[in-house]
């Protein structure tokens, strides 16, 4: 019994010591070092235009205008919303239910997956009349895991260039250059995939368009 009480005391004390060491000291120490060494990344890699923050280069956004690159399907709409989305309807629900991340979690056999993709293909072909169905890469019409994916495949960017040119008044070459500038190749030539950061590409499009105005 005496032994048990002694062990309990040690167990309780070790719990408190570890609260301080692992729960407070460690995260604070990492925060200090990170803020000192990598200020930009540690605060979310934010993108600014004229010192106004418009997003994070690591996160995608939902783009709907024809003059911008569209990203992958997101079940949470990239946490992007308008003023109206936050006004509750008669049931007290809002279109934007607060910050989150994730995907639809449709199994490959789920009929909802097929239905969603069919609708998206039709809509995409309507908006991009020159694109053939078999040229649409699947990444563009499948949902990303996080709902925040900032990348699309190079092909998915290329098939949108014509639409963007028509809507924005920029030339095909100018847009092609923007795609090229924002293409990230495989790391060291092997790791990962070739991809385009469409958020950064859209920021470049925005800058170019405001420049021309």
């Amino acid at each position: 019994m005496h032994k048990f009480i002694e062990n309990s005391k040690q167990a309780l004390m070790i719990t408190f010591t570890m609260f301080v060491l692992c729960g407070l000291f460690y995260p604070f120490a990492v925060t200090g070092i990170a803020q000192g060494l990598f200020y930009h990344q540690a605060n979310g890699s934010l993108v600014e235009i004229d010192s106004k923050v418009v997003g994070s280069e690591k996160l995608g956004q939902a783009f709907t205008s024809p003059e911008y690159f569209w990203g992958r399907v997101s079940s949470i709409n990239y946490n992007v919303y308008t003023e109206e989305d936050t006004i509750p309807n008669e049931n007290g629900e809002t279109a934007y239910s607060g910050i989150s991340s994730g995907t639809f979690n449709y199994a490959p056999s789920n009929p909802e997956l097929k239905k969603r993709m069919e609708l998206d293909i039709t809509a995409f072909l309507q908006a991009n009349s020159t694109v053939k169905r078999e040229d649409i890469p699947a990444d563009l019409l499948t949902a990303s895991g996080s709902g925040l994916d900032p990348h699309i495949s190079v092909k998915a960017a290329e098939i949108q260039i014509e639409r963007i040119a028509r809507a924005s008044g920029l030339s095909l070459e100018e847009i092609g250059e923007i795609v090229k500038a924002n293409t990230e190749s495989r790391d060291l030539g092997v790791f990962g995939e070739d991809k385009v950061n469409f958020l950064k590409a859209n920021v470049d499009l925005y800058k170019k368009m405001t420049q021309n105005d």
Binding site: A11, G44, Y68, S109, S146, D149, G192
Partner: protein, 564 residues
């Protein structure tokens, strides 16, 4: 394909190095961090009144459970009152009772099943004081148990090692330094590490976007180093802030593979210790190779299945050159996703860089089967202990076939140990299958299923396999934040963790007390290729006998359906 091979090749020297370091830490030998850390440890021992006395197996397990119990109790209270505590810039509310119960069991057992979503469910203080704290302590607990187990296998007495000392040493000397380093690398790749609140920005289309920030990197590193797996955000390591680049993806995979593999190396060195110095002891190597074979089989299967893609999407007439991309991230693609999926379930971490619910049926079968076996490296420490159960079982079966006395590392294996081993091997499938049966037989259980048809059963099976194996990944579609799911998976995690540890340490104590016999010509060799192959065969056979019926109704049926 090359990128997978390169990662695995980088892993080998790292794991051997880590194994040697781990061995030195466990056996209290000199390491180069000693001058600083001896002082830190000394201070901790002094504050807590810990003395360097050896414990028996029974005392060891009791102190283990006692200290875990205190942590659970205090952690639970913190979650229930988080809204009034400090560091809550996003005004998060208190956590509901059954969800808190589930969360706290989940993190204490190193499972990290999450029925909440981090962005909206936890304050920064809870993320640090409950989640990060438990990630350290649960990993250290599992590791301490494993080392107590291994030490007893090669010892001649049951009184050795002190739980508190093992526990403290592994945190200060192994987990903390590695986590710090990994966290800084992750920040350099783009993981945020800040205490300021979430941001709302105006996009170039004039809409608003909410950006979730927080001390992400510090959680992310220990989440992988300690094979925990619970994410800062709901979507775990798929989110760009938890896993920003391919480099971070590789770092995270290596972090979670490092210590479970190192445990096997450290064990091999303990066995070889009695003889001479070596890089990788033969007994441990034969187990390591067996685990690697099971791992590679799984990896190739997932890769091929995901690369082939979903036939239903191909029918829609679009190009599926990249493979099955639903639920995956573009920066990882198929290769990095398939590798991550296999690693996270083999090493029972449970973090995900793609959504497992959306994997093709065969691609989803592999992670499920990895967790059902629960011996392919496994979570830190306990995976090796599970594998040792199979090792002894294999010796027993092999010796019966050739008519020899079963003996392992000089200790005779007799009736009492075999009964406990059989019990230990049966607990895991019993938890998975019985709870799954309960779930599909009750309306509250079925209510959680979100995908129709055979996949619905897969969701249930996956959830309980993940809970019992203390993995923590999920077929995330499952609507699991209900009283039924919170309580049943809470119990599954609890029994899966503690019953197993208690029985395994009891077996080790039994063996430790036995007489040691030298090897003779009649002794079955347990460190050669024949034994490795036999071990793999026994693991697969028992796994298949137990789980094939359930798998046939779930993923295999779904596979046949989408191809029909």
């Amino acid at each position: 394909m090359w990128q997978i091979a390169i990662v695995l090749i980088i892993y080998l020297p790292l794991v051997i190095l880590a194994g040697h370091y781990l061995f030195r830490v466990t056996m209290q030998q000199k390491t180069w961090l000693d001058p600083v850390l001896d002082k830190v440890d000394g201070a901790i021992y002094k504050i807590c009144g810990i003395k360097q006395v050896d414990m028996t197996g029974k005392q060891y397990v009791l102190t283990l459970i006692l200290s875990n119990a205190f942590m659970v109790f205090i952690g639970y209270i913190l979650l229930r009152i988080q809204s009034v505590l400090l560091l809550n810039p996003n005004d998060i509310d208190n956590m509901e009772a059954t969800l808190s119960f589930n969360t706290i069991i989940s993190f204490m057992t190193n499972t990290n099943l999450q029925h909440y979503s981090g962005e909206s469910g936890l304050s920064y203080l809870s993320q640090m004081l409950v989640i990060i704290f438990m990630m350290f302590t649960s990993a250290a607990t599992g590791y301490a148990a494993c080392m107590a187990f291994c030490r007893r296998l090669v010892a001649k007495t049951d009184t050795l090692g002190n739980f508190f000392i093992d526990f403290v040493r592994v945190i200060t000397r192994v987990l903390m330094p590695i986590s710090m380093l990994v966290a800084i690398i992750l920040v350099s790749q783009g993981s945020p590490q800040t205490l300021s609140s979430n941001k709302t920005v105006e996009t170039i289309e004039g809409k608003f976007q909410d950006i979730a920030l927080g001390p992400v990197a510090s959680l992310e590193s220990i989440k992988h180093v300690g094979t925990n797996g619970g994410g800062f955000n709901g979507a775990n390591s798929t989110t760009p802030f938890e896993n920003p680049t391919v480099i971070s993806n590789i770092i995270e995979m290596l972090s979670m593979m490092l210590l479970p593999g190192a445990c096997v190396v450290a064990f091999s060195l303990m066995v070889a210790y009695r003889k001479r110095k070596t890089i990788f002891g033969k007994q441990g190597l034969s187990i390591f190779v067996a685990m690697s074979m099971l791992f590679l089989m799984g990896l190739v299967t997932v890769y091929v299945a995901e690369r082939t893609g979903n036939p239903i999407i191909s029918e829609l007439g679009i190009s599926q050159e990249l493979g099955s991309m639903e639920g995956k991230e573009m920066r990882f693609g198929i290769a990095q996703s398939a590798l991550f999926t296999t690693v996270t379930t083999a090493f029972t971490t449970g973090s995900v860089n793609n959504m497992h619910d959306t994997l093709t049926p065969i691609g989803g079968l592999v992670p499920m089967f990895n967790m059902m076996l629960n011996v392919v490296f496994g979570g830190k420490g306990v995976g090796l202990m599970n594998m040792m159960m199979y090792v002894i079982l294999t010796i027993f079966i092999a010796c019966l076939m050739i008519g020899r006395t079963p003996q392992f590392l000089g200790k005779k294996i007799e009736e009492k140990e075999m009964k406990l081993i059989a019990l230990c091997i049966l607990i895991h499938p019993a938890i998975i299958l019985l709870f799954s049966a309960l779930a599909v037989a009750t309306t509250t259980g079925v209510a959680g299923i979100t995908n129709p048809g055979a996949h619905g059963l897969s969701q249930v099976l996956y959830e309980f396999a993940s809970a019992s194996a203390n993995n923590g990944s999920g077929f995330e579609g499952l609507a699991d934040n209900t009283t039924f799911w919170n309580v049943t998976t809470g119990l599954a995690m609890f029994f899966g963790r503690y019953l197993t540890i208690i029985i395994q340490l009891a077996i080790a104590s039994l063996l430790a007390k036995k007489m040691w016999h030298g090897d003779s010509v009649g002794t079955l060799k347990t460190d050669n290729t024949t034994f490795t192959i036999l071990l793999v065969a026994i693991v697969l056979m028992i796994g298949a006998l137990t789980f094939l019926p359930a798998l046939a109704l779930g993923p295999i049926t779904e596979h046949l359906q989408i191809y029909s």
